[in-house]
Symmetry: C2
């Protein structure tokens, strides 16, 4: 079945979305052009507008269309704490936990030399300058608990050390509500080695 060129192009474009395969892309395209025309209009305009206006926060590299993102611009945040995360979604996740009042620094990735992602791409220079200002007392490394995330955390802890800033790593262990029986060995090993005296 050869679909018309405009339809095929739309389906191909939808396939670039994360987690969208050929079947889902086709279903989305038909929905957008059939029942979802008003939604499609607003998607096209919202996407166009976002592509033009959304850039990175001057300070923390979070996605925003302002000069400073809402966290960096808020006056009541604790400017002595800086939490390093890999992506904007991580900022949203930490904010939703409601347990952090400091500022963020978004790497937009992790160290991955094979993909051409080095310290430069992660904004290591900007981070170094930020720490050099002397306002940050602790750098909280909240990169993912993957090989790349750990390597990135290690690299940044040394960068913090050079600037005379204390670095800490978020705890890894058994998730809340998790049963030991079903937790994997690596997590359990982390939970044991990271045990705290009561």
């Amino acid at each position: 079945m050869k679909l018309s060129p405009a339809l095929s192009r739309l389906i191909d474009a939808l396939r670039t979305l994360p987690g969208v395969g050929p079947k889902t892309a086709q279903r989305m395209a038909f929905h957008l052009l059939q029942d979802g025309r008003p939604g499609a209009q607003s998607l096209a305009s919202a996407l166009g507008a976002a592509l033009v206006s959304v850039k990175r926060c001057r300070r923390c590299r979070m996605l925003t269309e302002e000069d400073l993102c809402s966290v960096c611009a808020a006056p009541q945040r604790d400017t002595t704490l800086l939490c390093v995360v890999e992506s904007p979604a991580d900022v949203v996740a930490v904010e939703q936990s409601g347990s952090y009042r400091g500022l963020y620094f978004v790497l937009m990735g992790h160290l991955s030399p094979l993909d051409g992602v080095g310290p430069e791409q992660l904004g290591a220079r900007e981070l170094e300058a930020l720490l050099g200002e002397g306002r940050v007392h602790e750098l909280i490394l909240a990169t993912n608990s993957t090989v790349e995330g750990e390597a990135t955390a290690h690299f940044l802890s040394e960068l913090a050390l050079r600037q005379g800033v204390r670095a800490s790593r978020i705890a890894h262990g058994v998730p809340m509500g998790g049963e030991l029986e079903y937790v994997d060995g690596g997590t359990l090993a982390h939970a044991l080695s990271g045990r705290q005296l009561l």
Copy 2:
């Protein structure tokens, strides 16, 4: 966490896509504005172009930007067979099976009085006119095997009867490779009542 207005608008717009919830929409938005900017550009332009150019085939109501879709315009199709399906995706599925050489009629939905979808919305008048031309010898009802799909098939079979055209329903039964043990009772009942002499 209050995301910036342009970001929030994009996430809301992405949520109108079928099967996309708030988390997925957020992930898509961050991807589009971060690593996926070239893909985002082409998605915005492909969607805009499709919204302007894609309309329905004059004959079968399939989505296309031409006057006639590729199936209706093909000279070698069997014009005596007309297969009625609920959506453009069904046309793609039947075409991919490679077992049908006739033409299609796309209802773009099924009878659903509560949602305001009656014969008018499904193009019953166009279908009646098409059958009235006298070229179609058999109307194959390939609506879904749901309550609404069956009701729609029943309604269309009576419409075909009034035009003196034979109507048939696609077979329902055990799927190829399916094991009887795991097939639901309704399907098994259909398979039994629809048994054919060898």
